[in-house]
């Protein structure tokens, strides 16, 4: 169905008038997602009712699957602010096809992260203390501020798409409101970029500042440890790839061609460069850490790895399998243009970020911090998996309904509100 040559007309998406795939297929998919969502809700009810003791978290592993999921989902959700930057600020016109999807993915990942954070925090009702009694020295304060504010920005960016819904579009006020709002998008995109840059970084900074944990501690510049910049770089490198992956999945499910190849090609080239940059930076950081920082903390490279769950294979994966390999696939034209390799590269890059977030969160806590302590291990139980999958199901639901009823992708039909 795909034609290699990049021609504007023929690849013009046949959206707009053709029916959006059979309702039955759509309903079936949404039902499955809803089922997982309800299962997650039950797990959440148990957690909120009985206390976090129902999970496998403990006093060594205060952070576990949920925090790993938060960080991964927020990192992969960076496609929103980055494509916002590319489209609204740097005016890369072809991205108009994908910017709306990016915004929805961003909205889903941030609201999903906040949802699971409300479970993970011991006293969710007091979370507004993060603003009221903020501790300006803490990286987590910055994360709390920027994630919640950026979620508001994402909702504002998502609002015009919602107002693009057929029934809402008929109400003139809403139509005009949505249209005017769309004009302000560059402003919100700018705010989103500022907020996202800092909280993506602070999520990394959270681990880098822990001078009690030699595994994750890094020196840095001014108040930002190097992990601050690594997290930002890895987020913007893999965000767009994640968005393309989701777009590919949507196309496959709805059996419709939505985004011309040249858009994905552009994103791939940008991500490829950023991924190369990130992999290089990650390599240098790992080297400096292994050669200089660990020995000074009384440890050596071998002593911070243990068994399979905290093994060196993950570091190897992060740098080579999910770092170098995707760079090559994305930067070499021949591979980039064959979809199979493109999607493999995207998947590997995203997997690399998830591994990195897992290692930074869980392995940091597993390494014995006192010499007379031993390695401890952590494995999530069904409550944690259920709540985690709930977020993914929530994402599928929101993206599914948005795709079906909201004008995400630009269409030929002039009557319909479309935004490019």
């Amino acid at each position: 169905m795909h034609d290699n040559a990049v021609s504007p007309v023929s690849s013009y998406p046949d959206s707009g008038h053709a029916p959006r795939g059979s309702f039955f297929r759509f309903a079936a998919l949404m039902l499955v997602a809803a089922a997982f969502f309800v299962w997650g809700l039950y797990a959440s009810y148990l957690t909120l009712r009985n206390g976090l003791g129902v999970t496998n978290l403990d006093n060594y592993f205060g952070f576990g699957l949920w925090i790993t999921l938060d960080l991964a989902v927020i990192a992969l959700g960076a496609g929103a602010f980055f494509s916002g930057l590319l489209f609204y600020i740097l005016n890369l016109k072809p991205l108009r096809y994908i910017v709306n999807l990016a915004v929805i993915i961003g909205f889903v990942s941030y609201s999903g992260a906040i949802l699971v954070l409300m479970l993970d925090v011991g006293q969710p009702i007091r979370s507004w203390f993060g603003y009221w009694h903020a501790n300006i020295h803490s990286m987590l304060t910055e994360v709390i501020f920027c994630i919640t504010l950026y979620l508001i920005v994402l909702s504002i960016e998502y609002l015009p798409l919602i107002l693009g819904w057929k029934k809402a579009d008929k109400v003139p006020f809403l139509h005009h409101f949505g249209h005017n709002l769309h004009k302000l998008m560059p402003l919100f995109a700018g705010m989103g970029i500022f907020l996202s840059f800092f909280h993506q970084g602070s999520l990394g900074g959270m681990y880098g500042v822990l001078f009690g944990r030699p595994f994750s501690f890094r020196t840095g510049v001014f108040i930002w440890p190097w992990t601050f910049f690594l997290f930002v770089l890895s987020a913007i490198a893999t965000g767009p790839l994640f968005t393309s992956l989701i777009a590919a999945i949507i196309e496959k499910c709805s059996r419709r061609h939505l985004i011309p190849w040249h858009v994905r090609d552009l994103l791939a080239r940008i991500s490829g460069v950023l991924l190369a940059l990130y992999t290089l930076a990650k390599g240098v950081d790992t080297l400096y850490w292994a050669v200089k920082l660990l020995p000074r903390a009384g440890l050596d490279f071998n002593s911070v790895f243990h068994g399979w769950a905290y093994g060196k294979w993950m570091l190897f994966c992060e740098i080579f399998v999910c770092g170098l390999a995707p760079c090559v696939l994305l930067l070499v034209n021949r591979f980039r243009s064959t979809p199979k390799f493109f999607y493999l590269a995207s998947f590997l890059a995203c997997a690399g970020v998830v591994i990195n977030r897992y290692v930074q969160t869980v392995q940091t806590l597993a390494v014995p911090s006192m010499p007379f302590e031993t390695w401890q291990s952590y494995s999530p139980n069904w409550v944690e998996w259920a709540a985690g999958i709930m977020i993914i199901a929530y994402g599928v639901l929101v993206i599914g309904f948005s795709f079906r009823y909201l004008p995400i992708f630009p269409s030929k039909n002039p009557g319909r509100a479309h935004y490019d």
């Binding site: 006293q123 009702i125 007091r126 507004w128 203390f129």
Partner: protein, 710 residues
């Protein structure tokens, strides 16, 4: 004019604006947040005036003086009483939990009667007294058909009341639960001293502990540890030397000067080995039969001692040299499972102290006169200690002595604590009617026909007199800190006097009229205490305020080595030491409670991760033994003994255990009590069997230990 859609939207917008500009949202958010700080289901604190009451702990074998903090009439925490001769600022992990134990879920609330279907039904005190009186009356008709078991190792008044009651019913079968004091008293008597061996640790500069874990469970541990601490200023080399010989390098071993691996049950051999070395370099005692003893000691050269006990020769010689070099040495000996060593062990230790010439000397082995017996029919303390419960139950099982009609158990848990379950407890079960006076629902209470609630230590008047291991005479009272017990419990004197009266049996009177105080009823704890205080020239009012009475007078003794008896007593020890290829090394910790308390609520968090995982108990073996026996960490084994008993355990590797020893923790395997103890691990006592030697009491040992992969 009806409201248009636009009008409605405007109204709603105005309402929202109004709400946001009023406290509705923000005050509610603030209050809900404060609600999370004061959830109604979280217990509230109650202020009150702080008062402090001094008493002595009866729940903990340390018998230490304690101070209970009371807030507005509620006891909350317990601390040590530094003025008390057996106390210090600190308390043991068990005594520290005594206040919380007042509210233990396994408290017996009311008298309970076992119904035919096996369940208990709560009955009134009158009903219970009538039932018990009936059985007491039948038992008093035939001689010796009442069996009394008392768990009070450290007091005299309760035992006096109980044995006087038994005497009044024509029975002399009054027994104390097995402990360290019985073999010590027997050894002293056999060596010519009708007195209680005492150990003046405070003034000793070299304390050799053979098997006796004096800093954890042996004797008045708080006083022992105060003496230990006083000899070791912080950071400086210790002024006193403590050496600990045991099979496991735990608790005391971490702080003493040197740990000597000695297999459990071979303590006597190690002592004789030392005696041999001392005699070889000129030590002699002026006792008549020194020659015989020297000959016996000569049979234990270092090589043989090392082979039998597992202690390296070098350490044996080093200990002997240190003993000789120290000014005031003292040797303590006891069992490693804290339930009574064989008499031979204590005899060997007394012999060593004789050789070192520290008998009745400062810092040495002091002999304390037995406390007076006040009531008629009551057994004197010395006779009480001669009666051996295990020997008696073994005799009943073998039919050599008649099965009693009635068993009266006071504050004791024989069903859990006694060894040789197949033999001894079968005999115990054959007793038709068993009445158990206990504060907590123990295994014994569950197996009894009548359970009578006794007030806890902090709720009753009781006394502590010369607990075994102290260095001088000490007498102090356990004073109630609550106006009345929290449950419908009655003290022992109330129960016994009501029962005897109902059974028309005359209440025993004071033995000698001089002690008969004016007007007070003799058969009460209060009057017995008053009489004893007067006899001791102690001030009763001070005692009731928690002060202790001490007395330095010692019993003059002329000791002999009694080599013939020692030779007979040591034979089975050597025989089993030689035959066993692998031996049990019991580990006892105060934090896990005694058989009468089980694991206190605050003790659960002190259980070592290597000992218990959920309900599965783990034995510890060192890497050499594990390799030899083919054991891998986490594998499961079944320990079987000749007596047919077996114990299924997991195995953990820990190199603080000597070779050929399997270290098994004591104090687990409870089937009664509450969720803090029930169902956790296995009871090590089940594996032990009892060997009774004529005139030498009974000896706990694991005969023919075999290991099978479970």
């Amino acid at each position: 004019m009806g409201l248009s859609r636009r009008g409605f939207l405007a109204l709603a917008a105005g309402a929202v604006a109004g709400a946001l500009a009023s406290p509705i949202v923000w005050k509610t958010l603030d209050d809900v947040t404060i609600w999370t700080q004061n959830w109604p289901w979280i217990p509230r604190l109650k202020p009150g005036e702080n008062t402090f009451l001094a008493t002595t702990t009866k729940m903990c074998p340390s018998s230490a003086g304690t101070i209970v903090r009371i807030v507005g009439g509620r006891p909350v925490t317990i601390a040590g009483n530094p003025e008390h001769p057996l106390g210090s600022n600190g308390v043991t992990a068990l005594a520290g939990a005594e206040v919380q134990m007042l509210y233990s879920p396994s408290r017996v609330k009311t008298p309970l009667k076992r119904m035919p279907d096996g369940n208990f039904q709560s009955i009134s005190w009158d009903e219970a007294i009538t039932l018990l009186a009936g059985h007491l009356k039948n038992a008093s008709r035939t001689k010796d058909s009442l069996l009394c078991i008392s768990g009070d190792q450290h007091g005299v008044t309760a035992n006096e009341l109980l044995s006087a009651c038994a005497g009044a019913c024509g029975s002399s079968r009054f027994f104390l639960m097995p402990g360290e004091i019985q073999p010590a008293a027997r050894a002293a008597r056999l060596m010519g001293a009708d007195a209680q061996p005492g150990y003046d640790l405070e003034k000793s500069d070299y304390v050799l502990m053979i098997g006796a874990n004096a800093l954890e469970t042996w004797g008045p541990v708080i006083r022992n540890r105060r003496a230990f601490a006083e000899g070791r200023p912080h950071g400086e080399p210790p002024a006193t030397t403590w050496t600990y010989c045991s099979a496991t390098q735990v608790s005391s071993a971490a702080a003493v000067n040197s740990w000597v691996p000695v297999a459990a049950g071979t303590e006597a051999v190690f002592a004789l080995g030392l005696a041999h070395l001392l005699i070889k370099n000129g030590y002699a005692a002026n006792a008549p039969d020194i020659a015989g003893f020297a000959a016996l000691a000569a049979e234990f050269p270092p090589q043989r001692v090392s082979a039998l006990t597992g202690a390296p020769e070098a350490l044996l010689r080093k200990t002997a040299v240190e003993l000789a070099a120290s000014a005031q040495p003292i040797v303590l000996a006891g069992s490693q499972n804290n339930s009574g060593a064989p008499a031979a062990t204590v005899m060997a230790a007394i012999a060593l102290n004789m050789l070192l010439g520290v008998v009745n000397k400062e810092g040495g082995l002091t002999f304390l006169p037995w406390p007076a017996t006040l009531l008629e029919h009551a057994l004197p303390r010395a006779r009480q200690l001669e009666n051996d419960l295990c020997a008696e139950l073994a005799a009943i099982a073998a039919g050599k002595s008649p099965t009693p009609n009635l068993a009266l158990i006071y504050d004791a848990n024989p069903v859990y604590a006694l060894p040789d379950k197949h033999k001894l407890l079968k005999a115990y079960a054959s007793i038709p009617f068993k009445a158990c006076i206990t504060p907590l629902m123990t295994e014994t209470a569950m197996a009894s026909d009548l359970v009578l609630p006794l007030p806890m230590g902090l709720e009753r008047l009781d006394d502590v007199c010369n607990p075994y291991g102290c260095g001088k005479n000490v007498y102090s009272l356990c004073v109630p800190v609550l106006p009345a017990p929290l449950t419908d419990a009655r003290p022992l004197d109330a129960i016994l006097s009501a029962t005897l009266a109902q059974a028309q049996i005359a209440l025993p009177n004071f033995a000698d009229q001089e002690a008969a105080l004016t007007g007070t009823k003799p058969f009460t704890i209060r009057s017995l205490i008053a009489a004893r205080a007067q006899k001791m020239h102690a001030k009763e009012q001070e005692l009731l305020k928690g002060a202790a009475h001490t007395d330095e007078t010692l019993a003059p003794v002329s000791l002999r080595f009694a080599t013939d008896i020692l030779q007979k007593a040591i034979k089975p020890l050597i025989q089993s030491a030689a035959s066993e290829t692998v031996r049990i090394a019991p580990m006892t910790r105060m934090a896990l409670g005694t058989p009468d308390t089980a694991i206190p609520p605050f003790g659960v968090k002190l259980i070592r991760a290597s000992e218990l995982k959920g309900t599965e108990l783990f034995a510890l073996v060192n890497s050499n033994t594990a390799a030899r026996l083919g054991l891998t960490p986490g594998c499961r084994v079944r320990l079987c003994a000749d007596s047919g008993a077996s114990l299924e355990l997991g195995v953990n590797i820990y190199d603080g255990v000597m070779d050929n020893a399997i270290a098994v923790p004591n104090g687990y395997g409870h089937t009664a009590f509450d969720a803090f103890s029930r169902g956790k691990g296995r009871n090590l006592a089940d594996l032990y069997s009892v060997a009774v030697q004529e005139g030498l009491g009974s000896e706990w040992k694991v005969a023919g230990l075999r290991l099978e992969r479970a």
